[in-house]
Amino acid sequence: MGYAIKKGILYLLLVLLAAMCLLPFLLMLVNATRSGAEISTSFTFIPSSYLKENWQILSDYFDLFLGMRNSLIVAVPATLLGAYFSALTAYGLAMYKFKGNKIIFGAILVFMMIPGQLSLIGFYQLCTKLHLVNSYVPLVLPAIAAPGTVFFLRQYILSSVPPSLVEAARIDGAPELYSFHRIILPLIAPAMATMGIMGFIGNWNSYLLPMIILNKNEKFTLPVMMATLRASLDMVRNQGATYLAVAISVIPILLVFCFFSKYIISSISAGAVKE
């Protein structure tokens, strides 16, 4: 009896928490169907009938699917490159003992603390000289150097990958890269999936750099396109359209999350060493 009550209370709390997390989402979906004037004068969870008008406003400003495609072109390679090369670096720093290991790690930590916005003008100049303005290269390639991810993965490898696994592989004659790909990567997949989700969300929502680097409407990524809805006297009227754009733009994030979260759960129990 006491157990049931305890459980009841627990579930009630969890339901409350879930509602708190989901209500803003629901509100976003509802607001996507309301007109700007309605949004600014009242608040409700009952959908209105302006979905079509909002879509019309949206299409007048930009092509949502083009923006999604552009964002995918940037976010997918940037995420994959970032996760793979960070894992490589982290593995090297965690598994091999060599002179300067500590110094390199220290340097990575220091770079983690420098905000990227500081060097915007210099970065832009570099890109003009390299003729990379209006290209996705400066948005994708720098993602390879992700100090935060390296730091996280190094700690993860140190704590959960026993060196004896690699040693065993070596004894059996596996080349170093081979043992990294076949033994280490599957083991650290949960950590990489976590960082992959973070990285994808970060790249997908990235606004400042694409806004600076891209000068052509047809090359804009989704967040840059969406911001143009605010560049009008009709800002209040465009609110419904903004909600609609945001609602649609989170779909890929949700998909990626579902995809990666499978890995987070499935590999926690995979492979280990008998002590």
């Binding site: 600014s40 490589l88 600076i212 000068n215």
Partner: protein
């Protein structure tokens, strides 16, 4: 030991391999750019000086690139293409990030944008950094006097060189309810009602008269903010807090403390609601000015919290001329019952100013585009139609439309009214410090009216803020 060395080698090999992998693309790109890199570097080094140079090289390739923060220009560009056949590429950038974008691009030597724009508060920095080309050299002087005077002045840099022109004017006015005016004051004539807003003590009297009849003068107490810039904040390098500023402060404090407004925040839900009918009078507890903590966004708790509150109808709003459009979208059933009259002083807010990038290689086409947007009567006519009531800056167009009646505002002839208001604006009173000092002054007023600080404390905080933000400004406390 041998193993270790081997590992180190492998690692080093991997690192170089990956670096070569990434590097090859860059190397190719930079090699191909080798031929043009010399001239691009020279142009970046002179980017700040280029503003004064006269390299009006016309490529005449029939193309133009516009970077704008107002979506309006997109319509202008489409019409320009229609009329002249010049292909215009319009890139719209969010206003908040626009200065960053332009600054990074122009300082980075970007030649792509031909047309760049700015709002009044951004312009001074843009001018100082030489982002805008000299329009006088392209012949802007010939058009002096065709544009409303204050707009012309806003587009000039510190030494009086024309660098930008706006297609719109944004003088501020008081939007009031004609039916309430008729009931309380016995007249709804804009000139007569304007007298009720002639100065700060009079506004307080007006507010009390309205309250006695069960109305409230304003929804928020920020409505007269647009008119408060009657004296310059900085004169000859010294902070200037005029008597009018203190009068304004006293008025806001008494409006708040004597329950003379509906306690809504500007741009919040009840503020918009007040445009279309009666609203509950919020109390200071519900509408927390400090952190906006009222649940005005949450209708149910809002309705609950305000169920016992008295309801009232708001008499007036203070907004610049673009408020005509804001009101139009929100007045609902009160459409036609509104009027517009002058405020206690002249003021203006916002406006998009068009200029030419100093690095543009198509300056002549760009100048033609600027003239098309701002100095062409036909365009102005079209824009009045297309924008459904925006106020243009071209005097001849305003004259032509001076008898246009706006049905939402009881058939008032708004264009001639705005022209009159715009004539009174004295742009010499605007400084680049206005935004920060104005915000600090607003914070001081907020602290006093809510009783968080005494007047003296709040003023001291205000002076401290100014001193730390702008050490170069002299203070006479």
């Amino acid at each position: 030991m041998k193993m270790k060395k081997l590992l180190a080698l492998v690692l080093a090999g991997l690192m170089t391999a990956s670096m070569v992998g990434c590097g090859s693309e860059d190397a190719g790109a930079s090699a191909s750019s080798g031929s043009s890199s010399s001239d691009s570097s020279s142009s970046t080094s002179t980017s700040s000086a280029a503003a004064d140079s006269t390299e009006a090289t016309v490529t005449g390739d029939g193309k133009l690139v516009v970077w704008t923060l107002a979506a309006d220009l997109k319509q202008f560009a489409e019409r320009y293409t229609e009329k002249t056949g010049v292909q215009v590429e319009t890139v719209v950038i969010e206003p908040a990030e626009y200065p960053t974008k332009v600054q990074t691009a122009i300082m980075g030597g970007e030649k792509e944008p031909d047309i760049i724009v700015g709002e009044p508060q951004m312009l001074e920095d843009f001018f100082d950094n030489g982002f805008f080309a000299n329009l006088d050299e392209l012949g802007a002087k010939d058009y002096e006097g065709q544009i409303v005077d204050y707009v012309w002045k806003v587009g000039q840099d510190a030494s009086g060189v024309q660098r930008a022109i706006s297609y719109q004017i944004t003088p501020a006015g008081i939007y009031y309810r004609r039916d309430i005016a008729q009931e309380v004051f016995g007249t709804d004539d804009p000139d007569e009602i304007g007298k009720k807003f002639a100065d700060y003590p009079t506004i307080l009297e007006t507010a009390k008269a309205l309250k006695a009849k069960g109305y409230r003068i304003f929804a928020s107490d920020s409505e007269i903010n647009y008119f408060s810039g009657d004296s310059a904040w900085v004169v000859d390098g010294a902070l200037n807090v005029s008597e009018a500023r203190f009068d304004y402060m006293d008025l806001v404090v008494s409006l708040y403390q004597n329950d003379l407004t509906a306690y809504a925040n500007q741009w919040s839900t009840p503020w918009f609601q007040a445009m279309s009918g009666d609203v509950p009078i919020l109390t200071a507890e519900i509408q927390n000015y400090e952190d906006d903590s009222v649940n005005v966004w949450d209708a149910e708790s809002f309705a609950e919290a305000t169920a016992d509150l008295e309801r009232t109808t708001v008499f007036a709003f203070g907004l610049p001329s673009w408020g005509v459009l804001t009101m139009r979208d929100n007045v609902g059933e009160t459409s036609g019952k509104w009027g517009v009259c002058a405020g206690p002083a002249y003021g203006f807010g916002g406006g998009t100013y068009i200029g030419i990038s100093s690095l543009s290689e198509r300056k002549d086409t760009a100048w033609d585009f600027v003239k098309f947007c701002t100095l062409n009567e036909e365009t102005a006519d079209w824009w009045i139609e297309a924008s459904q009531g925006d106020t243009v800056s071209l005097i001849s167009a305003l004259d032509k439309h001076k008898d246009d009646e706006n049905p939402i505002y009881g058939g008032e002839k708004l264009y001639s009214f705005w022209l009159e208001q715009a004539k009174g604006i004295d742009y010499s009173k605007v400084t680049k410090y206005d935004k920060v000092i104005g915000d600090a002054w607003g914070a001081a007023i907020g602290a006093i009216k809510t009783g968080q600080a005494t007047k003296e404390e709040a003023l001291n905080t205000f002076y401290d803020t100014i001193q730390s933000t702008y050490p170069e400004i002299q203070l006479n406390r």
